[in-house]
Each structure stands twice: as C-alpha cells, then as structure tokens.
C-alpha cells in the first residue's frame, strides 16, 4: 500500500504508523465529562468503506496526516497535514505519483 504524503510524495505503508480513528474529538483539557472522555479514549468507528484516519509519516517527515481510506479496497482517497498552516505541496506529490 502506498500513502501519498503531502510533503514527501507517495511512500510505502511501512514508513507510516497508524495513529487511530480520525473522527475522535478530544474534550477540552479541563473537561470532567467522563462520557466524553470515554468516547474519545475508547470508541472507534469501524466502517466498511471510507474512513477518516490519522497516520504519522514516522519513517519520513514525521508529520501526522489526515487520511481518508477505503477499508474494503484500501484505496487512499485523500491525504492532508493534520497540522494546518504549512502549505500543502500537492504539485510535487502529483508529479511523483
């Protein structure tokens, strides 16, 4: 499987670390809402189809990415930096695909 890192271009999945379900919302740090914390820490979506995931390009630029992946076909539909602000460099990524 290849994941196209917005910085590094398409790379082997072995360079990446799965960092969990990308649909989770972390409660405010001071929140005492245990149900919300429980949902954040333990609940994971497991759709058969398109799924929002977080991957880290741990064997490359180390950026965390928001990845939309089809869990049936393994097709990667989109990738983007999890941290905003840095310009995406999709031109190069496309040029190298």
């Amino acid at each position: 499987m290849l994941i196209t890192c917005p910085y590094c271009g398409p790379r082997d999945v072995i360079e990446f670390t799965y960092q969990g379900d990308g649909n989770r919302e972390r409660p405010q740090p001071a929140s005492q809402d245990l149900d919300a914390w429980n949902a954040y820490v333990y609940d994971r979506l497991n759709p058969a189809g398109d799924h929002n995931e977080i991957w880290q390009h741990s064997g490359g630029c180390r950026a965390h990415l928001r990845v939309v992946r089809n869990t049936i076909t393994h097709e990667i539909l989109s990738t983007a930096f999890a941290r905003g602000g840095h310009k995406s460099t999709e031109n190069r990524a496309e040029g190298r695909s």
Binding site: P6, Y7, C8, R11, D12, I14, E15, H57, G59, G60, C61, R62, A63, F81, R83, G84, G85, H86, K87, T89, N91, R92, R96
Partner: protein
C-alpha cells in the same frame, strides 16, 4: 562563544572504517564510500507562515538560496541545505560553529535551531552504481528526474532513520543517527561488495 580549540571528534565508524578497495573490485570500483565528517549539522524549524523568513535567514548566513517546494535543496560542496519536513531544514557546513552564526537571527517569533552536529553522521556514497546500492536500502526513487540535484528526502531503512541529499548526479549524502551509523555503514559496505567499492 566560539570554540576554536576543540579536539577532533571521534567517528562512530572508526573500527569498521577500512580505507581501500573492497568486494568485487577487480573489474573496477563502482561506488566510493566515505564519511564527510561535517563540522556543523543543524536543524532549523519555522513556525507555520514563517518559512519564507527562515529561508531568507539561511540565505544570509550560508549564501545558499533554497529552491521552492518540499524537499528542495542546494549543495555548494562546503555547505548544504535541504528541506526534510514541513517548515524544517537541515543545514550543513564542513566547518564547526555554524550554530553560532545563526544565533540571534532565529528569534522565537520565527522558529527554532537545534544543533545535531554530534548526533547525526553523514555518509557519502558516490559512483555509477550509487543509485543501485541505495535502492537496496530505501524504498524511494533515486532516478535523477524523481530525485533532483540538491533535493532532500526523509526515509528509513528498517529502524534507521535517514535524511538523504543528492549532492551530485551520482552522489548522495546520507544523514543517520550517530548510534546507528556503524551498523548502517557495515550494511552499506556489505551491499556494495557486488559492485566493488572503495572506502576513502
């Protein structure tokens, strides 16, 4: 705070560094392996939106103008710079003390400077079979159109994290963690045996 009289640093490769020709070299040596022993290896990071200012500072201090785009870089021989992650750059000087040259110019508003001169080991592979040998280690495309001159790449070989700059048409500089350097060097020598290699 210049450090003019510091002793020579110990190379992590020492016991495994054997100058001369090795492997299947009777028909010629197709790669040359060496440690560049760069004096300064720095990591510069810009906060989002501050990349342009950081690139300008790099130009002022080193005289190297970074080309646009992810992984862009330039290598002048004595100095080198390349992007390896969003907003992050590796800057290298054959002389020690480059960190002091940057001190003061990288303000907290722009980003950070981390001195990795001891922590990273720079290994150079050069020669007509450099791409072939590199392809044994890294799952990235080393062909010139895909990996242009001066450009940088972050990748890994098993647990060995590597930043790679193409410093010549058939030459690459590989920056690895110091603790892994000897292990990686041994593997690199081993992988170069079939093409014949020379250690300088």
């Amino acid at each position: 705070m210049a450090e003019p009289h510091l002793p020579e640093r110990q190379s992590p490769l020492e016991p495994e560094h054997h100058p001369g020709s090795h492997g299947n070299f009777e028909h010629g040596v197709d790669v040359i392996l060496s440690e560049t022993r760069a004096g300064s290896i720095l990591q510069l990071a810009a906060w989002p939106g501050e990349e342009k200012r950081l690139i300008e500072i790099i130009r002022k201090v080193t005289g190297l103008a970074l080309p646009d785009g992810a992984g862009g870089g330039v290598n002048s021989g004595a100095r080198a710079v390349f992007g390896f992650a969003p907003g992050k750059f590796t800057v290298v000087d054959e002389a020690e003390g480059l960190a002091q040259a940057f001190a003061g110019s990288i303000t907290p508003a722009i980003g950070t400077l981390t001195d990795l001169s001891h922590g990273r080991t720079a290994i150079r592979i050069a020669g007509p079979k450099a791409e072939w040998v590199m392809a044994k280690f890294f799952a990235i495309d080393f062909a010139l159109p895909a990996f242009p001159l001066g450009a940088g790449r972050s990748t890994n070989h098993h647990d060995i994290f590597a930043q790679i700059q193409r410093s010549g048409a058939d030459q690459f500089d590989i920056y690895v963690f110091r603790s892994f350097a000897r292990s990686f060097w041994k593997a690199l020598c081993h992988a170069s045996e079939e093409v014949g290699y020379e250690v300088q």
